[in-house]
């Protein structure tokens, strides 16, 4: 099955040496985990991102950065793994686990991008935990219908994505002093949590925001992909 790994942590400014050292760590991880990684990349700084709240009917758009000092999403992966143990073994090797955290989410389904995602946009769907629904429930089915409507309107401006299980199924992985620490649930308790994502394949940010504004979600964070992973 497919797992979504969301890399969270403080946004750091690295000097060129530290930056290339970290890039080398990521390259090493990509080589080691090549058979399991289905997608993945770093996100451009949150200052260049956009948050959309209020839903498709009354979207409010806020430019990043979103909150001073908060843990922000810095990258993502999609893994294909046999079970949670395998997914967690991959997550612990992600360099971000050492200075921030990696949330590992089981996907309900994952639609792989049909075209290279390159430096297109990631629309991360965020919900208050109480708003997340279990697959098979009437609320879930209603959500699926709303997303189908969005999919029809967006057409080929979306390029794959995934729906995630509720936050009780997530696991947070951190590595401190070489020791792996697992916690049950998302990284930050009480905050809005990841609930799904789309890749948005358009030529500029305004267009990405326009498409993302139509997504049925409490909050949508739109972040451009760095296109550095080579995956």
């Amino acid at each position: 099955m497919h797992y979504f790994a969301l890399l969270l942590g403080p946004e750091r400014t690295l000097d060129p040496d530290a930056h290339s050292a970290e890039m080398a760590e990521y390259q090493a991880f990509h080589e080691k985990a090549a058979s399991a990684i289905r997608a993945g990349d770093a996100l451009t700084p949150s200052a260049t991102g956009v948050r959309i709240t209020g839903g498709p009917d009354a979207p409010t758009i806020t430019d990043g950065p979103f909150a001073e000092g908060a843990e922000v999403a810095g990258g993502y992966y999609v893994f294909e793994a046999e079970n949670l143990d395998e997914a967690l073994a991959l997550a612990r090797d992600i360099p971000a686990a050492k200075y921030g955290a990696v949330e590992v989410w089981p996907t309900v389904f994952y639609t792989p991008p049909s075209r290279p995602v390159g430096t297109s946009w990631l629309a991360l769907l965020l919900e208050p935990p109480a708003n997340t629904n279990a697959p098979g429930s009437p609320e879930w089915d209603a959500g699926i219908a709303a997303h189908q409507k969005f999919g029809a309107a967006a057409g080929d401006r979306t390029n794959g994505g995934a729906a995630l299980h509720p936050p009780a199924t997530a696991t947070t992985v951190r590595v401190r002093d070489g020791e792996v620490l697992l916690t049950d649930g998302p990284y930050i308790e009480g905050a809005e949590v990841a609930n799904g994502f789309y890749f948005i394949d358009v030529s500029d940010r305004d267009e990405a925001v326009k498409v993302a504004s139509m997504i049925p979600a409490t909050t949508v964070e739109v972040r451009q992909l760095m296109g550095v992973s080579g995956l």
Partner: protein, 407 residues
Amino acid sequence: MANLDGVFRREWGPAVAALARWSGDITVAEDAVQEAFAEALNTWPRDGVPHNPGGWIVTVARNRALDRLRRESSRPGKELAAVVDDIRARTDHADVHPVRDDELRMMFTCAHPALDPTSQLALTLRLISGLTVAEIARALLQSEAAVGQRITRAKNKIRHANIPLRVPPAELLPERAPHVLACIYSVFTEGYWSTAGPSAIRDELCDEGVRLAGELCSLMPDERDAHALAALVLLHDSRRQTRVDADGALVPLDEQDRNRWDRSRIARGLDQLALAADATGPYLPQAVIAALHATAPRWEQTDWRAICVAYNRLMEITDSPVARANRALAIGFRDGFTAGLAALDEVADDPRLARSNTVASIRADLLRRTGRRDEALRWYRIALGRNGSGPAREFLRRRVAECAGHR
């Protein structure tokens, strides 16, 4: 049929574990075994208990599960449809019967580190020990609704995040086994040191902790830390009947009636300790300390020098402030109570103990033993103002009265 309860308790865990292996789904397994037990309650009093009650339960449970899965899979859109095909492919020729590995698999799944420790404990008590949600709620001092929700949530996570139902492969064992040990130890400690709650459920948890530790030893005979854990819980448990008096107050070690300590548990504990040599976890030094107490003929003959050695070893493994505070007490008995007070000062400001009565009780005890009764009284009162179990508070009240009476 008074013995049905015992049969159920014995057969529950193995049956759920066998059905879980067979169906690949814990919830399916639990529901099916529950139905089989309900049927047993109807038919066994009439027809008698079958020769192989476990086999009977598993067979009936499997049939119930198949019926249910067939029913659910005929409804469109049900997520169990895939499970059914999978099961049918595997089970037409396979006979389900409980095997020992099933239980071990279940222990590792329930104590999976992606589940929070309280959920691990609740799940273990439900799926392996067969306690009802109401019993678990009483044991953990939580509402039934909260415990039920916690267990459902954990089972959903096992299913949806696909936590594997297996004994982890060799390379994962060193990091995963400690979670199973910790979970079993918490079954025991919830009973032995529980903060409150009725005593019947506490006794049951102690018994269950001892049983699970023994079970783990027989399933993983090479796991030294499992033997250390079994030794620790047996040696502690040997004192269960003497550590609380008729008024419900904790009885300190030096006032316990050693003739009433359970000799057979001590003997079994020492046997397990002999198998635990070279264990690297925190249980061995604690078991050694418990063994030194259990084998001292009289309080006055306690080998404090050896106990301090074991505490020093424990300090190399864990930075538990409670262990460090207890070590200060041992130092007090070895080197004099003033030395004990100095050792206690090293841990007194640990923020993790800020709300606990540990440091204040030990300080009061050391002061009382040096004859500084006024200061002791003050610290006993401070200890009473902090969190602690009912029996511990009862004991502190007694000490307050004693110290106040001697003024």
